[in-house]
Symmetry: C2
Subunit: 462 residues, 2 copies
């Protein structure tokens, strides 16, 4: 077991990080939970680190004293990953915001892990570059994105966070500082530790810096919003789009109910909300002609597949309104109910429609309201179970039964538990069901290699 | 230590794999070494497996009997990775050639690991699809490509082998059959074991099947061959190309001497061989206009950067002649000397020219001939040390001294030991120098989790 946190421990941190070590009710209660608030835990101390060296010192001390450590960026997680369920040290990276290098020749940017996604995005865009991944939650830190291998809305063309990480500086539980990967673009030099750290949800090492791939900002971009009579019509068009020699940057699916929530939440009208189901597609490229050609190819294909219409999102204003609505879906659904929980399955892209229809069945079967939206181009769905005033016991029962049904179906059709939000505390049972005990045993063995004392984010993932 | 291989062991394999277990001088001597022949080892038994179940049985027996196992595809490796230096069992996957599924909706192809790269490529191309990675050695197996995370000539636009592997079926040293990853395109479900297996050179598990990403075959493609006055002129153009809002599929660097070897080796003329240095660039896309636009942008940029001329490779015949020459470089250099060894460093793309110039210095310093070529767009160079009739002792001394110099320089400038050929037996010292003892310790810990008896490809990588 872990040691009890003492006054001496606090004095050590106060001295190490003057003015940046807090405890008791000087810690804001936001630090007790994450965005969804399904898990709860009170850290004994909150330490705000500024650099890799700080993190190294904190970990060295924690390791010697056998104190648990939970790393936290913005706390925008949805599965209880960054909650201090065993108390101990909460290591807050949110002050580590520096851009350390922009390498225009090798097209990389090196940042500290606490920089927000929106800060990183504007830093790059202002200089004519783009950091490709575009998760909906712009106030997440890049460290948080790395810890769950976040995907986001440009994954279809540009890949997920993992695909944009060239190297990581990370601190082992022992306090040792390591460099995993390098600025180079190919690597066959020993086991792939970089990709093992990515997606490990702060259980193997503390990521403090990352060198990220950037691209020259595409010169031309256009989106279309395509209403369909039904969800099946919309979704069944996606495999055809994928086969059409054109790769949209994004292919997002949205249903009418979710759009209405977003309109209400933002107090802004969406360009259209009369149809049941929509695809929102974006295209980018080097020439206006090429982008228009791609867009027209897909617009025609949608119309051939029973789309009702095709709206060009060709003004800055329209684009901002549509994409701000898309980014607000999670918050908007949250605003529509008193409590919710989430299922972030990823399924083969050809089976997305079947899976959404299945969630409608689950909604009927369990009596829960279950709105959803998703990255149709990636097969990654975000499905929300809404409490809508149910009493605690009924809510827990219905929720468990709905999760059981949905994860079992995902497993049957070759899907996985999480596309981009991770396992954290809440999805561990489903991970075990999906991968089997033997794979979890391997993961535990790997955890033990990095963290023999088990102090880093204990109780999470595996 | 391992058990001694006995007659009983052989009888077991004879019964398990009738007609597919060989020993003594029925084993072709090609199995004693790989393509470069730097390492040597005689397996006690060669078993030719047909399916995952065969592999599972072989591994279960090997594990119980404590016999070492080396997996081998086509034996085209260059670092001694697939050589049975401890004797024991050589597990030959070259009969495992089946295509198990083509999923046109999810754009994946599932194959057994012994299929050759050229067989996989034509299977896909004949059906209107493309498996993107394109390593020079077309007679390598896909399993071999996965084991070293091979890159190849389309990595600049389409990534390396890792980027195209969605899931693996692999057999643990214990004989247990595991599925790592899934057909889905995003994943945040526990530690990334799939990417850990990729690039592990057959030391963690035996890959038996792979589900690979494919794309619709691009409709238009064109290459240009661009002669420059000097290597520095050629290479210093590459960062500008990377920044030019255009991503070529390939950006290959070649020098006059290597082209002349290839002409002699193939008995065919290259379109031009009068200049010191060349870039070979390919562009692809959905419309002829877009591809021509990309090509013209880069052609102009090359001419502004002192290119002597731009040759369009716009006929099937010309394209075949240029690319077959490019694919033959390794063989051609091999044909120009009695023995050679190779350095496969990868360096930041902006420092490729500096590194090549440094190899010229090393050639002078050591008195060795050191031709090179490379994937300039990826910073991955293939540098060859040629023996040219030197006596054994002089050759070994000069070779070691040249390797020491080159790997030390690569380390200094943020490069890595291997871009795509792996570590195997030959590059272990340089891997340790590059990563440090602590990272190797972590890798050994991970090896121990997968393979506690250490029977899988012992003595390699770490």
């Amino acid at each position: 077991m872990f040691s009890k946190f003492t006054d001496d421990d606090f004095r050590y941190f106060e001295k190490l990080l003057p003015g940046r070590a807090l405890r008791g009710n000087t810690i804001n209660e936001d630090y007790y939970h994450d965005e969804l608030g399904t898990a709860f835990g009170v850290p004994d101390v909150l330490v705000k680190v500024l650099c890799t060296q700080d993190v190294s010192q904190v970990m060295k001390y924690a390791s010697e004293r056998n104190l648990p450590v939970v790393v936290r960026g913005s706390g925008t997680g949805l599965v209880g990953g960054a909650v201090a369920i065993c108390g101990g040290i909460m290591l807050d990276t949110s002050l580590m915001k520096k851009v350390l290098e922009l390498d225009e020749n090798n097209l990389t940017v090196t940042v500290q892990s606490g920089i927000l996604l929106m800060e990183l995005a504007s830093y790059c865009e202002e200089r004519g570059f783009r950091y490709c991944p575009d998760p909906g939650e712009k106030s997440a830190t890049i460290g948080g994105n790395i810890s769950t291998n976040a995907g986001g809305m440009r994954a279809m063309k540009y890949g997920v966070t993992r695909d944009s990480v060239r190297s990581l500086t990370a601190v082992l539980p022992s306090g040792e500082i390591m460099q995993f990967g390098s600025k180079v673009v190919k690597n066959s030099s020993g086991y792939d530790l970089k990709d093992l750290i990515i997606g490990s949800e702060g259980t193997l090492a503390v990521v403090t810096e990352a060198t990220l791939k950037i691209i020259p900002k595409p010169e031309h971009s256009i989106s279309i919003l395509v209403p369909f009579q039904s969800m099946r019509d919309a979704i069944s068009t996606v495999p055809k789009i994928i086969r059409a020699q054109v790769t949209p940057v994004a292919t997002e699916y949205m249903s009418q109910d979710v759009i209405l929530f977003a309109e209400e939440y933002l107090g802004k009208k969406f360009p259209t909300h009369d149809s049941d189901a929509y695809l929102l597609l974006t295209f980018d490229g080097n020439t206006r002609e090429a982008v228009m050609h791609d867009m027209e190819t897909i617009a025609e294909l949608c119309l051939e597949n029973d789309a009702i219409d095709v709206y060009m999102i060709d003004t800055e204003e329209r684009s901002a309104s549509v994409w701000s609505a898309r980014s607000a879906f999670l918050e908007a659904i949250k605003g529509s109910t008193d409590q919710m929980d989430e299922c972030d399955v990823v399924v083969p892209r050809s089976l997305v429609a079947d899976f959404i229809l299945y969630t409608h069945e689950v909604a009927k079967k369990t009596g829960l309201r279950i709105p959803s939206f998703g990255h149709a181009g990636d097969g990654n769905l975000h499905i929300y179970l809404c409490r809508d005033g149910l009493d605690e016991k009924t809510w827990e029962e219905r929720k468990d039964s709905a999760f059981d049904l949905m994860y079992a179906r995902a497993r049957e059709i070759g899907g996985l538990v999480s596309g981009e939000h991770g396992i954290g505390l809440d999805k561990r049972t489903y991970l075990r069901d999906a991968l089997g005990e033997r794979q979890l045993e391997i993961m535990r063995g790997i955890k033990n290699v990095f963290d023999p004392k088990g102090i880093l984010n204990p109780g999470k993932v595996i």
